[in-house]
Symmetry: C2
Subunit: 408 residues, 2 copies
């Protein structure tokens, strides 16, 4: 569906606690050396909740605990997040630690355990320093100021260079609804959830099943279409809380504004996904690939993800090399059947391949275009209706540097 | 099957023309600036022939021509190869050029067109400089000296730092049989054939169907288990010629020495595959991953390839970082069901994960081990019978440097 720009409006200067009835906070508790490492989101009232998780078979303890929380009533009231330690591959002790984080926060807020979600990100395979975490949970506070929201957004970062926030407003039943998201993640980013955490809050009232469906659809088209290095982490999760404080009639399929909400959620997720791709480890450029003409949207996304995931395309973009052959090779090995005779490739405004064949173009025009910080590669893979977009980043010396010495 | 070391013997100081009845040569014809760029293999007599090709949907013109040649009678007598230009994405003109290369060589040798195979490697999407190629084909000569074999091995290289050769001898019916291989490839190397060319010659007499089956099996376990960067090229091919000059009774399933031949072919392909992985663009280390305990060998290979293909594992090996969590994450997202409770991971001699959990180990031991140039990572993924091996290399600054400026 097409949504007029007036209907869903971007709001600057706001953050994860912008929707009514939400508060947030972030502190340094001591898991990391200096940076903020513990964050908290609280809703005044119980909120409809949904989440999608990494597809990695090895899932970190907090994911199991959060799944258990949400499955009980599809409601949450708070989320506790630590960075610096992923609590992954930590066995029964790790499970006990995640459960303890959940109950400490629940006790502090005077709510049932299953209303608390837990998330962790950082190094795999080391036990959480629970003394530190315990005293951190004791001292952390949440409020609705922008500063505290920013503290939260900072507290979930690992190798990220910048925090990622986005907020939109739109109307449901004539009531103002706000939706806000924040995310972390810059390495191990690949379709199917990577070392990435995304948190979305909204004051809309939404039926939980519908919320889950909407989140899944949005994530498939956004977070799952970004790739930094093809690695899929053990800890990824995107979580949404909808607390109903906007007092709209409950959104669900059939509600006249259901489409607007779905689109707003998709936009929030797309904003965050693009920010993650752009902040990919060592990245200097955001690469967006748009593919059309396939049999299905899924096919188009698969081609788009293959191109943006190709190390050879990524290094060519880094080096401003108009090497369209690498784009074409990636299209060819994507696994999606294509119509080679109608294949078209554009690097920015420059057509480089038409009817499956290279066309004469100004190499210098492409080189100049590739000097930008946001690069668009468009591919027409046939004459059918499918289309899709994916996002990634260039592959640079700094990616190697960051990852050759992550723990040292 | 287990083959005693005495049966299949490595022979040094020999190359692609070592098997009886083969000759080879390589020259600089002018496609590249200075280096050798045109190579020729000739058999005195018609040879059984088989090949496997890239799975990329976009296949270069020479592959189509070679497939057509082999399909006619499953016989070849000569192979012409150029480097510096892949003749890929070059449309009808590219097809005409590949056909012309084939007929020029066939005319020169006085044989039918379909007895000639054509291969190309290099930049995609530029037309072959056919005047240069024509005069090159006119002047190229083949003989059975080691020098000419080396010229051939040199003439097929692109960004490779070293040439790749291996030769073995064994007996069939008491007759001495020689098998020799040479290969190129260092970037765009991934399972399912990458920018990789492999040529194998043997003087054994072999039934063509059986030869094809044996080649496919060997390639699945060797060349298709190496990865440099996950990109699958448009031009890859492994080709074998068996000319029967050893005068053994024709090998095929049921022949008592069929197993020995299969094993010799597998070893030749494994040697070449490992040399390609080790010479991966910018690589400083060969990484070998051995996986056991899966339901099938294919599952084990899939896990092994996922580990060795992970940019995070590759950078950790480059940086001598004992980051076993990345190995574990890769096992988890390989797509193969694993028994987490019995998961074991070894980095060289050091056990880092047992029963799915990190064990206490000396970080310094692992760091010291990772300073070697050949790194072994072993994973036990369960208690079943499947096993498999894959090979790759570390990801370094030089990979980025080479690929950010390949054409400039």
């Amino acid at each position: 569906m097409i949504v007029s720009e007036n209907v869903i409006q971007k709001v600057n200067g706001h953050n994860i606690a912008a929707p009514k009835g939400f508060s947030a906070g972030g502190i340094h508790c001591g898991i990391k050396h200096k940076k903020l490492d513990l964050g908290l989101i609280v809703s005044d009232v119980q909120a409809s909740a949904a989440a999608v998780y990494t597809t990695n078979q090895i899932q970190a303890a907090p994911l199991t605990v959060t799944k258990e929380s949400i499955s009980k009533e599809q409601l949450l009231q708070t989320v506790i997040v630590n960075s610096g330690n992923a609590n992954a591959c930590t066995g029964t002790q790790g499970m006990a630690d995640a459960y303890e984080m959940r109950s400490l926060v629940s006790q502090k807020l005077g709510i049932s355990d299953h209303l608390t979600a837990v998330a962790s990100t950082g190094v795999i395979g080391e036990m959480l320093p629970m003394d530190t975490v315990r005293s951190g949970i004791q001292s952390i506070q949440a409020d609705s100021t922008l500063k505290s929201s920013i503290d939260f957004s900072q507290s979930i970062l690992t190798t990220d260079k910048v925090m990622k926030n986005t907020t939109y407003r739109f109307e449901v039943d004539g009531k103002e609804v706000t939706i806000s998201g924040t995310a972390k993640g810059s390495g191990m980013i690949h379709p199917n959830m990577a070392t990435m955490l995304g948190f979305v809050t909204t004051d809309a009232s939404i039926e939980p099943e519908a919320l889950h469906e909407a989140l899944k659809n949005a994530v498939d088209r956004t977070f799952n279409c970004i790739t930094v290095d093809g690695d899929t982490s053990t800890n990824d999760m995107v979580l949404i809380l909808a607390n109903g404080c906007a007092e709209n009639s409950t959104l669900k399929p059939g509600h006249k504004d259901w489409g607007v909400f779905q689109e707003a959620l998709r936009i929030v997720c797309e904003d965050l996904g693009k920010m993650i791709a752009k902040d990919g480890e060592g990245a200097t450029k955001l690469i967006e690939t748009k593919v059309t003409g396939t049999a299905t949207d899924e096919d188009a996304r698969k081609i788009a993800k293959t191109i943006v995931g190709s190390p050879l395309v990524k290094t060519a973009v880094f080096g401003c090399d108009a090497n369209w052959g690498r784009v074409m090779a990636a299209v060819g090995y994507s696994g999606v059947p294509i119509d080679i005779g109608s294949l078209e490739i554009y690097i920015g405004p420059v057509c480089v391949v038409k009817e499956g064949m290279p066309v004469s173009f100004s190499e210098q025009d492409v080189i100049d275009y590739l000097k930008h910080h946001e690069i668009l590669i468009e591919v027409k893979a046939g004459n059918l209706e499918g289309y899709g977009t994916a996002w990634g980043c260039d592959l640079t010396y700094d990616y190697v540097q960051i990852n050759a010495s992550y723990r040292t």
